[in-house]
């Protein structure tokens, strides 16, 4: 993981609140993002992810609470801040007939320092699209261009809002690889997503947000262990003594059997090891053995009582 040994927060959000008319978009949200990590704000659409992110970027002013990013006040020092961060916005567009290199060139001219635009396009696989109009790019190419624009000023913190929404699985995987590359170059990534698989594969730490409130924060593994401690082992065996042997394991809670297939539920970090031990000690021959770990999806279901897709 890219988290440094002594985590140094680059973003600190303390009890921010934002309402639009009678609608409360964000209420009392607090979290910290550490240097060099990929931090994900995850939750369903309308949970307050984008509003929270835009407050940290300085584009929106919260009604209450405090935000510090890179030691700056995002709203007061917005122009100073924008020089040091890179932003990819949800559902943003560029001029239809702007060429890829023109956009990169314009962006490069706006910042006090800029990296080489052509090299950036090459790294993002857009070198052959240099002279293409924005409107002719595919969804994945547009997102890669937006990543290029977010990286042009060699930013310390990169904001990615719903980066892979609407992309096919293949482009999505390619983009994930790019985001890991950003972190590996020592940058901090603050992203939002409503895709649990994306959060699980990409984020070092996540904050689950719903109805404008943060429900829990931690690494995906931590959250799973905390909220869904039950592990499942699926195995197949013809051994008649298997069921009885399995029930003697202390960490095992439930054993169910359907013909020769067993489903074993248990808790604790040693659960799977103990099952394997038991099988080998009793010389039980198995023809199939699988562990099923709960995912962030299950954590979300447990915490909110509904699936994120509802």
């Amino acid at each position: 993981m890219g988290v440094s040994r002594t985590p140094r927060p680059v973003i600190q959000v303390l009890g921010i609140r934002k309402t639009y008319g009678a609608t409360v978009a964000v209420s009392d949200v607090s979290f910290e993002v550490n240097e060099g990590e990929i931090f994900g704000l995850i939750g369903p659409n309308g949970a307050g992810k984008t509003t929270t992110m835009e407050c940290v970027e300085g584009v929106r002013r919260p009604d209450g609470g405090a935000i510090s990013i890179l030691g700056l006040d995002p709203f007061r020092d917005v122009y100073q801040l924008q020089n040091r961060i890179g932003v990819q916005l949800q559902q943003a567009q560029l001029q239809k007939r702007i060429k890829v290199w023109e956009a990169v060139d314009l962006w490069a001219s706006l910042y006090t320092k800029a990296v080489d635009g052509d090299r950036l396009l090459e790294q993002l696989g857009l070198a052959n699209k240099r002279s293409a109009w924005f409107m002719t790019l595919s969804g994945g190419q547009k997102q890669r261009l937006f990543i290029a624009l977010a990286l042009i000023n060699d930013p310390e913190v990169v904001f990615l809002d719903e980066l892979t929404t609407g992309l096919d699985p293949q482009s999505r995987r390619a983009i994930w690889e790019l985001v890991r590359g950003i972190r590996d170059r020592g940058k901090t990534v603050f992203m939002t997503t409503h895709l649990m698989e994306e959060a699980e594969r990409l984020c070092d730490r996540v904050a689950i947000i719903e109805h404008g409130k943060i429900i829990d924060i931690g690494s995906p593994e931590e959250l799973v262990r905390r909220h869904c401690p039950t592990r499942t082992v699926l195995l197949a065996t013809d051994n008649k003594l298997a069921e009885e042997s399995l029930r003697t394991i202390p960490s095992v809670e439930i054993v169910t059997r359907q013909d020769s297939r067993f489903t074993v539920l248990g808790q604790g970090d040693d659960f799977v090891t103990e099952v394997i031990h038991c099988l080998s000690e009793n010389r039980i021959r198995v023809t199939d053995f699988r562990t099923v770990l709960p995912s962030l999806e299950d954590v979300f279901l447990k915490l909110t009582g509904h699936s994120i897709r509802d």
């Binding site: 122009y79 916005l89 239809k96 007939r97 314009l106 962006w107």
Partner: protein, 249 residues
């Protein structure tokens, strides 16, 4: 303060010229109207005492100039609302670009196009359109720039209130084109009913037309300080107003 202004302006000009019909509609078409209508009305050969002769000598060039200015404003309104609806303004605003830089770039694009169109009109006029009047080209260009700049500020107010890009063109036209009827170009102000005269005096286009006509005819700027002042007031009021009501998304 205005970092990126020239690059953005140049970029927007290039993008504009890539639009299908972009250059044709805003540059070629007004010049064509000028030449064709001028020739149909017999060029400058008719004695200027006749209505048609007078219109060709002064009215037509001013009319075409006003059309150029108005089409610039309408195109500005449309572009701004498309940029807003498509999230382009939002994306540009999340950079160190200042909002006023973005708007200034668009105003500069329109002013540049207005100047190019006017230059073409003068060239076409010299070649195909035998009006042998001494026209102070530089002064007229200045008058046109001031008028366009002032009307563009009305465009920003319109751009602030139109809900979606689809409505930008019709709403803009509905606000701007009725001004043409009362601006004194077709019917002299004095012959309007008193109530309409009052309305005409409130419309900024009336002052633009008065200034353009006067400068075209060779009158001194000192005779039109009132027009210039009125146009500057419109600019100041509309700029202040749009700064208050302008929405970026």
């Amino acid at each position: 303060m205005f970092r990126g202004l020239w690059k953005l302006t140049w970029l927007e000009i290039k993008i504009f010229l890539r639009e299908p019909l972009g250059a044709f509609g805003s540059i070629i078409l007004p010049v064509l109207v000028f030449v064709v209508v001028g020739r149909l009305l017999g060029g400058g050969r008719m004695p200027s005492a006749t209505a048609a002769g007078g219109f060709v000598r002064v009215g037509l060039p001013v009319f075409v100039s006003v059309l150029i200015a108005l089409s610039g404003v309408l195109s500005l309104v449309t572009i701004i609302s498309i940029y807003r609806e498509g999230g382009i303004l939002r994306r540009l605003r999340a950079t160190p670009l200042r909002p006023q830089t973005i708007l200034t770039a668009h105003v500069l694009v329109k002013l540049a196009l207005t100047l190019v169109t006017m230059a073409l009109m003068v060239l076409a006029g010299k070649r195909y359109y035998p009006v042998h009047v001494q026209v102070p080209i530089f002064g007229f260009a200045m008058a046109l720039l001031i008028s366009t700049w002032s009307i563009l500020s009305i465009g920003f107010v319109i751009a602030s209130i139109v809900p979606t890009a689809r409505f930008a063109q019709p709403i803009g036209a509905a606000i701007l084109y009725p001004m043409l009827a009362l601006c004194g170009l077709f019917v002299p102000l004095q012959s309007l009913p008193p109530a309409l005269q009052v309305v005409a005096r409130v419309l900024p286009l009336t002052y633009a037309v008065s200034l353009l006509q006067g400068i075209w005819k060779g009158e001194a700027w000192s005779a039109h300080l009132g027009d210039v002042a009125a146009l500057l007031i419109v600019f100041a009021v509309c700029t202040a107003l749009s700064a208050k009501v302008f929405r970026w998304e």
